[in-house]
């Protein structure tokens, strides 16, 4: 998995995306608070939605940059000419994105806990399951679409416009499941949502692996 290694190395050396996304997450929290007012009670009800809004918005920025290095440094041909199965590139990019997003989400979650005075310790295992399942779905489609839009004009515009509708079911499922988990319910009570997310993960990753070949052609 040379691709993962390369991308992670670049990211570790430059920390460019990570730093910017961290700052972006912090700003999002500020904006949410300013937009909704400081009333804790009211914010508490919208918290699962805000949390996922934060994940999705930072995901859009992070995922959209998946192939920036290749494009800007004219290495696109390098990817195309890489020997072996193209789907390996997809899996590598997906793994890199997944790791990046999980780190960002962990930071965002901690910030949410800090700003909204949440006690996350008790619900963390359940929350981690929901976030992991949702993030795979987000990153799987995001990586595929990022490759598609990388070579298109107005890509910054097209990427979210394509990704958001497709992710609608994932957003519904994760927000509902997060809400239940934050209220202290067991994972069993949201099993149907988790199954839906797992199904989405399987479908998206499978479609991504199978169609990535066609995206990277020529």
């Amino acid at each position: 998995m040379v691709v993962v290694w390369k991308d992670l190395l670049v990211e570790r050396r430059s920390k460019e995306t990570l730093n910017a996304l961290f700052f972006f997450g912090l700003l999002l929290l500020f904006v949410f608070q300013f937009a909704l007012g400081p009333d804790r009670e009211r914010l508490a009800g919208t918290l699962p939605g805000l949390l996922w809004l934060g994940f999705i918005l930072s995901g859009l920025l992070g995922l959209g940059r998946t192939f920036v290095a290749e494009r800007e440094n004219d290495c696109w041909e390098g990817l195309l000419l890489a020997p072996g199965d193209k789907s390996a590139i997809y899996v590598g990019k997906l793994a890199g994105n997944l790791l990046l997003m999980l780190v960002i989400e962990a930071i965002l979650l901690a910030l949410f806990g800090f700003f909204f005075n949440l006690d996350l310790a008790g619900v963390l295992p359940g929350l981690a399951v929901v976030i992991a399942l949702g993030t795979v779905a987000l990153a799987a489609v995001g990586t595929l679409f990022a490759a598609m839009t990388a070579q298109v004009r107005a890509r910054e515009l097209l990427f979210p416009v394509l990704l958001l509708p497709v992710e609608a079911p994932v957003l519904l499922a994760t927000v509902k499941a997060t809400e239940a988990v934050l209220l202290g319910e067991t994972l069993g009570s949201v099993a149907h949502w988790l199954k839906l997310l797992a199904a989405a993960d399987v479908v998206y990753v499978a479609v991504g692996v199978l169609t990535f070949d066609f995206v990277l052609e020529a």
Binding site: V141, L144, F145, M148, Q151, V152, R153, A154, L158, V161, L162, L164, P165, V166, A168, P169, V170, L172, A173, K176, H192, W193, L196, A199, A200, V203, Y204, V207, T211, F214, V215, E217, A218
Partner: protein, 215 residues
Amino acid sequence: MKRLLGFLTVLGLAAGLGMGFGVAPREATQGNVQRIMYLHVPSVWVAYLAFVVVLVASIVYLARRSEAADRLAHASAEVGVLFTGLTIATGSIWGKPTWGTWWTWDARLTSVSILFVMYLGYLLLRGMIDDRERGARFAAVLGIVAAFNIPLVHFSVLWWRTLHQPPTLMAPGPAPVPGIIKAALYVNFVAFTLLYSYFLTRRVRVLRLEAEAEA
């Protein structure tokens, strides 16, 4: 052949209108508003049919690289978006007197509107790629992703809306529909399917001529 299809479509639509307004009785509780169902339900059927055609044509395109399959997918997506829009519009018109609001996040309304934006994105992607061959490839991939997403959208939206409040207006299970209404509905199903195939063949033809003119 094309003329025959057009002729049949007009005939079918006329028959559908006749059945919907003339033969079918006035619904007791909803009144005449219910008659919009004869447009609404066939529209959504055509929309789903169109998106399934997009899926099949996309897979065929990626496997065979036939430009005809690409044009079929493109045309079908356009017609599908049109009929999804029709479904939402007629549903809104029906919803205002029946539910008292133009829009509500009802389960079916929500899933149809998600489909609408998803395939609008598909058309947007097509419009933004200048290279014909690359556009066809990317659109095919998106057509496959979107089609596989339909069941996920369906179930997520169903659970999203029904877990908190049980549906009061649209109770699950087949509603008892009298035979004559059913018959009127079936006639409209046939008419709309004809209309879909007519639009599709015309649009495919225009796309082919465009490609020839460019070549």
